[in-house]
Symmetry: C2
Subunit: 303 residues, 2 copies
């Protein structure tokens, strides 16, 4: 099993939807990626930063899932990154009500020798400058590097983001972001354009409409798992990335064929995430439940 | 091979898109269903009505595809049904600019003894009163009856439409229509509700996002074939229905497993339809081309 290094936020979120409010809960890209990957991988480490307000029970949760949290820096006098958002009836629309970078403003991760050995690196959604700092410290050509990012960085740090994109193997973004980043008007054209920036593969997530995987000459697509009732989509993309990376970490050889199954695993993991507020479903999810849903998904999609 | 009876419009359309204009061209639900089914079935008949203005070359086209046109009634002094529509940049939005029912206003189809033998009946999009008239003349319980309809009839002839729905085996509608008809807010809830109205199976088409198939206890979903450039979506739904019915007509036993493949065939056929204005692509489509795309689709979706 390959070791996975996850770089991203560990945070507190407050989420409002049309049906309810979460209160202050555990969040952050690295949290979701880690929880999701932990169902498929027992050798993952999170690199992140939190404040003195970060509760031990949250750290313990990650540890209990087998995630190495030694590289989650704790700044005793600082406060944990905080995000508050509100979703509309159309889940694709959300407003950010409050963002407090707090300790994240000075995050400058140093990768330990042990962590440098990881074969898979997941760059969770984070300032591309930090993502580049991480890549500067590892032997990029020897690793499978997976990048997750979002439109915020396309709007606010495009040159730095382009520098990261050039260095990664696989980029995972959603449909709107793919169109924005590529300045194209179809997902096929967008995928081709983004592949020309450097990555070998691109995964385009389409939310409830599934996901697509492209490389230079191949294409694969799956529908989403049909979730009966979405409660909160926060973290679904990160959870997808965690499932994707977690599945790849089990294999000796990473190629397009196995990436198809990685997309299926990401899709199924994300379907659990949205069934509750924040990390609630992922926190108590068991391997057997995910295996059953994978079987169900195959049943729904194979012909 | 089972005989397919297709009831629907044979019409003239004029279509405007953001990139071009079709001029007056052949259209109509039965035309699209017939052209699509003809690639999979050699025993189909169209029941429809046209005016004296209907050009022989259009009739000949259908005949050359092996479609029996003996039951397309020609009213010499009447005019063929005409529809003019305009699509927006978002293909899901279109305005009807002109509708002239013409001969369709008095369409009251009589089913010949020969046509009554058809094992599969496709009720193309048409006034549900006419669809009911057709069902009154056949032994409904012995046939596989497939209904295609649209929101216009939900708005304007709901009681008659509900009467048809109660009598059919399979209903094919799009996602918005499923929500409207069921008064539910998720596609799963909508499918369950509509199945409770009578049909044994429901296919929900989601345009570029694929299609779903449900029965009481089973579910199947496929992505759409990724069309590089959509030229005109007119007839895509009818073409789907034609491919769906055409595939089923080749089989002795119709069950959920083979219906999955029927959905795949419908999906692939519809992908050709949208690649040109009106029936242009379907008119010259060859079996080999459809087989190649079916293989390609399997390659894109199987894992």
């Amino acid at each position: 099993m390959k070791k996975i290094l996850i770089i991203g936020t560990v945070a507190y979120d407050e989420i409002e939807t049309t049906t309810g409010s979460s209160g202050k809960i555990l969040g952050g890209a690295a949290t979701y990626i880690g929880l999701s990957a932990s169902l498929l991988n027992s050798k993952s480490s999170i690199i992140s930063i939190v404040g003195g307000d970060f509760e031990y029970k949250n750290l313990k949760l990650l540890k209990l899932k087998g995630i190495n949290t030694d590289s989650i820096e704790i700044v005793p006098k600082g406060k944990t990154f905080y995000w508050k958002g509100k979703y509309h009836k159309d889940w694709n629309k959300r407003d950010t009500l409050n963002t407090q970078l707090n300790v994240l403003a000075d995050f400058n991760p140093a990768i330990s020798e042990e962590n440098k050995k990881a074969e898979i690196i997941v760059l969770g959604n984070l300032h591309p400058e930090i993502q580049n700092t991480v890549l500067d410290q590892v032997n990029v050509s020897e690793k499978c590097i997976i990048l997750d990012t979002m439109n915020f960085w396309m709007d606010n740090a495009l040159p730095e983001l382009m520098k990261v994109i050039k260095r990664v193997d696989i980029i995972i973004i959603n449909d709107e972001e793919a169109l924005q980043l590529s300045k194209k008007d179809t997902l096929f054209a967008a995928a081709n354009e983004i592949l020309s920036f450097g990555p070998k593969q691109i995964v385009i997530k389409k939310g409830e409409h599934g996901a697509m995987l492209f490389d230079e000459s191949q294409f694969f697509t799956v529908p989403a798992f049909p979730v009966k009732k979405v409660i909160d989509p926060t973290g679904a993309g990160d959870t997808f990335a965690g499932g994707f990376a977690g599945y790849l970490s089990q294999l000796d050889n990473i190629n397009f064929e196995v990436m198809k199954l990685a997309v299926v695993h990401g899709t199924v993991m994300a379907s659990f995430c949205v069934e509750g507020f924040g990390t609630s479903v992922m926190e108590s999810l068991e391997k057997e439940t995910t295996n059953n849903r994978l079987k169900e998904f195959k049943n729904f999609t194979r012909y």
